[in-house]
């Protein structure tokens, strides 16, 4: 049995990164920008609220004290209050999360499935027209700013497909009668498709390139030749030996693309007025609602750290050579 040392190490690293992220968050929003979260400069905030902020954030105390208060609050799930609505940030975040997660999941799923398909075919049929198409297609989509692609899709394709281009639900649904679960589901899906498609296409471009390159590297390995020598067909070799080994660098590179996915999600939600975390961030920036921005950023960062950890563990599971 392999020792679990590696797992422990990676978990500790993840925890360490969380600490770094939290601290970075604190430093950015408190120390460097003159207490962006304090409401002191917020014109629309009531005096009561300002006093409340000063007390709960400990603004009259030292930075170190403030940091400890911040950490304590976070541990209890308290992420402060929105400057705009004075509600707890936690409740402000909930709805948008529910909208963003399925949309991003859909888009990324699409990107992975088609990216792997195109990448593998391109590598297998290296040098042929299929390879060139995949390569240039991938490069093309990879170079497109997601917001621009979104606008193009809205301009040319949305009308043709008859899909909605903003919001997450049809405002007329539920007015005349109680909508059934299926109706709601379909409605949500319809609204999710275009943003997910936009996000998915751009990431698909990147993944095609990643998979193709990882596969090309793997197909040059000696055990591929051995497999052919043993009498396995090209197809069987790719499936049994090629893909399984190419998975490893692919996982690493996909984990590195998470930041890009988030960035894409933010701009795509903005274009499609899709009320998710991305749109929330944009609005928070616009309205200078920094506590919300801080919390959303922390949430995103923690998600990425978590996913990286999962990717590390998956790698550990798939590669028997990893041990420490």
């Amino acid at each position: 049995m392999r020792s679990a040392d590696y797992v422990v190490k990676r978990v500790l690293f993840a925890v360490g990164t969380v600490l770094v992220a939290v601290t970075l968050n604190f430093v950015l929003f408190r120390s460097l920008s003159g207490d962006a979260v304090s409401a002191l400069r917020c014109r629309g905030c009531s005096l009561d609220f300002k006093n409340y902020q000063r007390k709960t954030l400990g603004l009259d105390k030292s930075k170190w004290e403030q940091y400890k208060i911040y950490l304590g609050d976070l541990a209890q799930g308290n992420m402060g209050r929105s400057l705009r609505t004075e509600e707890p940030v936690r409740s402000v975040l909930w709805e948008p999360i529910k909208n963003t997660v399925p949309m991003v999941a859909l888009g990324t799923f699409f990107a992975i499935v088609f990216g792997v398909l195109t990448g593998v075919i391109a590598a297998w049929r290296r040098g042929t027209a299929a390879d060139k198409t995949a390569l240039w297609g991938g490069l093309g989509f990879y170079s497109m700013p997601p917001q621009w692609l979104g606008l193009v899709i809205v301009l040319f394709i949305a009308g043709w497909l008859g899909l909605p281009t903003s919001g997450v639900k049809d405002p007329t649904l539920g007015i005349l009668s109680d909508p059934g679960f299926i109706e709601v589901f379909v409605d949500r899906l319809e609204h999710m498709i275009l943003p997910a498609l936009t996000l998915g296409l751009v990431i698909f471009g990147e993944y095609t390139l990643i998979v193709r390159s990882a596969m090309l590297e793997t197909l040059g390995e000696d055990y591929i030749l051995t497999s052919r020598a043993k009498g396995l067909s090209n197809w069987a070799t790719v499936w049994k030996h090629g893909l399984r080994n190419a998975m490893l660098p692919i996982i690493t590179l996909v984990a590195l693309s998470l930041g890009f996915i988030i960035g894409g999600a933010i701009t795509v939600e903005y274009v499609f007025s899709y009320p998710g975390i991305g749109l929330l961030i944009v609005e928070a920036i616009d309205q200078r609602d920094y506590p919300v921005l801080q919390a959303a950023f922390l949430l995103l960062t923690l998600s990425v750290i978590l996913f990286n950890l999962l990717a590390d563990l998956l790698y550990f599971r798939l590669d028997p050579r990893v041990q420490e």
Binding site: L225, T226, A229, L232, H241, R244, R321
Partner: protein
């Protein structure tokens, strides 16, 4: 008289070069191997020995063109290329690759990889295959429990022997070994050589052993073929090549080997082999040969008999001194 187990007749291999020209890598190689005999193919790197044996299994890249015949039990398996060779892979003729360190898929267990060709070719499956694997591992001197190990958990020598076990999975009659002992330390080298000799004697395997190390051939092989610039320049029983060397290149190869008993200098062979992307006139070895005369530059020497089953391609074969 029954035909030899493996017979190669006038084999040529050309490779397409990026600049549009062709590289004539193998230039009319012919040899035959009977059951229970071991042929050593010796030469400098780039002389075409690896390409020759890859051709025997049809493992050449698409940039290659071949002509000639490869007769297995008298039947030409090279006749229609991939179509006629594929059915024989691993079942009749198997290969142990150069640097067998990487011949194994790093993410699969050794046992599974040895079973793979068995199941593929309908040789055995399930429990029967598992017991065959144990038997094979024992034959090559590896504890049967190691079937559950991953390639990286085995030492270099063990991996090489495991590769031999894998090559024997479908009981082939011809075993091709490409530099199986390079990069192994002397003790392990001896073990592997002993093993190969044993397999050939006990199982009647015909062995074609490619190496640049002449002493190994002297130690292990019944016959030897010396290759230079894509051609065989001397061929015959190993004893004969040692005691009655009939080609200057062979003699220089012997002389280049450090001899623990003698106190002579170790000679190196000055110069480099000729380019193979152009037509050669005369003897390819002439520029580096100490016996070279004007005839050697203008007239190419053909392989001629100089003894019992012993051929040499040299105008001055009778003047070549013996190695010992």
């Amino acid at each position: 008289m029954s035909p030899p187990l493996l017979e190669v007749d006038d084999l040529h291999v050309w490779f397409d070069l990026p600049n549009g020209r062709k590289l004539h890598a193998v230039q009319g190689v012919s040899f035959a191997v009977d059951a229970g005999t071991r042929l050593g193919m010796v030469g400098e790197s780039g002389c075409g020995k690896t390409t020759t044996i890859l051709a025997l299994m049809g493992l050449l890249p698409p940039t290659a063109s071949v002509s000639g015949r490869v007769l297995l039990d008298g039947v030409d398996v090279l006749e229609r290329g991939e179509e006629t060779i594929a059915p024989h892979r691993w079942k009749d003729i198997a290969m142990v690759f150069q640097g067998a360190m990487n011949a194994f898929d790093p993410v699969k267990r050794i046992g599974d990889q040895i079973v793979e060709p068995m199941e593929l070719h309908g040789h055995a499956s399930g429990a029967e295959a598992a017991s065959r694997v144990s038997g094979l591992l024992e034959t090559v001197g590896i504890a049967p429990e190691r079937a559950k190990s991953y390639p990286h958990e085995l030492s270099g020598g063990m991996r090489q022997r495991a590769a031999i076990a894998m090559a024997l999975a479908c009981s082939p009659r011809v075993l091709l070994a490409d530099e199986p002992t390079t990069a192994l330390d002397v003790m392990v080298q001896a073990q592997v050589l002993e093993l190969l000799t044993y397999l050939s004697n006990e199982l009647g395997l015909a062995l074609v052993f490619v190496t640049h190390d002449l002493p190994i051939v002297a130690q292990t092989c019944t016959h030897a073929a010396v290759m230079y610039a894509g051609r065989i320049v001397e061929q015959g029983p190993t004893e004969a090549l040692y005691h009655e060397t009939r080609h200057p290149y062979t003699r220089m190869l012997w002389a280049a080997t450090p001899d623990l008993d003698a106190h002579e200098e170790v000679l190196s062979i000055p110069g480099v082999p000729p380019r193979l992307d152009a037509e050669l006139h005369g003897c390819p070895f002439a520029p580096r040969c100490d016996l070279a005369a004007s005839r050697c530059v203008s007239e190419r020497p053909e392989l001629r008999s100089v003894g019992n089953g012993h051929t040499s391609a040299c105008h001055f074969s009778s003047s070549v001194g013996a190695a010992a």
